[in-house]
């Protein structure tokens, strides 16, 4: 099994929590379709696509990190982990830019139901990503110290980072694309 079983329990539990958020959002959307569409038109789809590509690339770097660590190429694995963290940081900057832009145009948490969901879902994902930086920090420290290196921990950290990635994949589709 890749990583610790406890992390998989966490992943499955968090997936259920996020799915329940998504269900509430989708139900609200069907009841106020016109209002949601009007608000949604203020989002920049290309920015959402860019966010997603950045996070997918970061996930790719973490997947490579795990495989390089497995083959004993720890120097390269550490570089991959730094690339992943760097791309995660780019995602955070893009997200803050998007929030500032929307607030500047008057779209806040209380301006419409759609933006209430938008800010809630993107903020909760943001918090998960911030935790992800701690996880990547642990990963880098583990890879640096030969006495601490354990493949299971590397895989556990990677599993968390990928989970944050796939939550965003779902959030992106639901907020930016569904009609």
């Amino acid at each position: 099994m890749p990583g610790q079983p406890d992390m998989w329990v966490f992943v499955l539990f968090e997936s259920l929590v996020f799915t329940s958020y998504f269900c509430v959002y989708l139900y609200s959307r069907t009841q106020h379709e016109a209002s949601f569409l009007r608000s949604q038109a203020h989002l920049l789809l290309w920015l959402g696509v860019l966010d997603t590509v950045v996070l997918l690339t970061s996930s790719w770097a973490v997947a490579r990190c795990v495989q390089h660590a497995r083959t004993g190429w720890y120097e390269q694995a550490r570089r991959d982990a730094w690339v992943a963290a760097g791309l995660g940081f780019v995602f955070l900057v893009l997200k803050i830019f998007e929030w500032v832009r929307l607030i500047h145009f008057g779209h806040t948490f209380t301006s419409s139901q759609f933006f209430q969901y938008f800010f809630f879902l993107t903020a909760i994902h943001f918090v998960h990503l911030l935790i992800g930086f701690v996880v990547i920090g642990v990963l880098i420290l583990q890879l640096k110290d030969p006495k601490r290196r354990r493949q299971e921990t590397v895989e556990t950290c990677a599993t968390y980072w990928h989970t944050v990635d796939f939550f965003w994949v779902l959030i992106f589709a639901l907020l930016y694309v569904v009609r």
Binding site: P2, T19, L37, V49, S59, A63, T159
Partner: protein, 97 residues
């Protein structure tokens, strides 16, 4: 020399990025004169594509592909569960509205 796992991961990444950019085309199809219009087909397609991406991430990046059967089946079941819940709520909501 590039290890074979690097090539495989690269192709997986390419597929995921390809599906992501396909949303630009989907959006273009669902927008008329700059105004987005409601579409159940677009909604269902967007959710299904996202779930396909989630499964690919789990199988390839999270290495579920080579994991014990239990984890393979459990994660597949979870993807189906998420899909059924979201699409079910969406269809029920549309029926009520």
């Amino acid at each position: 020399m590039t290890p074979s796992f690097n090539r495989r991961l690269f192709f997986v990444w390419l597929i995921l990025v390809g599906i992501t950019t396909s949303y630009l085309w989907i959006d273009h199809e669902a927008t008329h004169s700059g105004v987005p219009t409601a579409s159940a087909v677009i909604t269902v397609a967007a959710i299904c594509l996202a779930l396909i991406k989630v499964r690919i991430i789990m199988r390839e990046f999270m290495e579920v592909r080579g994991a014990p059967q239990l984890l393979c089946r459990l994660t597949d079941f979870w993807v189906v569960l998420m899909g059924v819940a979201m699409l079910g709520v969406y269809v029920a909501g549309k029926a009520i509205a």
